[in-house]
């Protein structure tokens, strides 16, 4: 953890993941079932390898992601959400809802429509699902 600018909880949150990339990695783990370096690289936003590497290290240090070696391949690592990381779900959902509402070219797909219909239910449903995947 670097420095925190104040003791405001909003500011503290932004100190950790207030950038253009961290929450996209979280999105990939949370909603797209991605869990490895190479999978993150394939996302359409095209994150650079060094940025990905540094963000994964930061998210791990912040205990938002956990890292373990794959059981079948010792040179592969698996990233998973911790409880702290899973609790970012409402933020991700709100970001999606706002983005979809104000960008015509961001069509709501299945999840987006469910959020529009009943946001709280979607959060409950996904939180339940994430619970099973949580690592310390």
């Amino acid at each position: 953890m670097s420095k925190q600018r104040s003791d405001c909880p909003i500011s503290c949150s932004l100190d950790i993941f207030g950038d253009k990339w961290s929450l996209l990695i979280i999105r990939d783990v949370m909603l797209r079932g991605k869990c490895s370096y190479s999978e993150f690289l394939k996302s359409e936003e095209k994150i650079a390898t060094n940025i990905l590497s540094s963000r994964l290290a930061l998210l791990e240090a912040a205990q938002i992601l956990s890292k373990e070696t794959a059981p079948d391949n010792r040179s592969k690592f698996i990233y998973r959400l911790t409880q702290k990381g899973a609790d970012l779900l409402p933020i991700i959902v709100e970001l999606m809802d706002w983005g979809a509402r104000y960008h015509d070219h961001c069509p709501r797909r299945e999840l987006g429509k469910k959020i529009k219909k009943n946001k709280a239910a979607v959060i409950d449903e996904y939180m339940q699902r994430l619970k099973e995947q949580i690592r310390s």
Copy 2:
């Protein structure tokens, strides 16, 4: 608006306010009743003048904030939330909740406690209040 990295609504949102400062300005307007350049400068996170200036311009361009000259002083400007800006409230609330939950040194004050008790009610209450201040 610069470029957007993909048509994912989360990514689109981050393209606009995915940095360490934009949402702190929104917080100041939304929760602290601030509405001028000099008031934003006084916040404890100590934003630099040039950064503040560029962020205000970006938020205005994104139609999240509106800018008008003060009725009593032609050299003063008043920044207010638009509907699009006010709709960021749930994101701000979730950022506050997560930050307070995971940082011991970020004590929940009045609002933080109300959020913990009944998040949806807080959002409703504040959204109602913001409605009266909205500008196009």
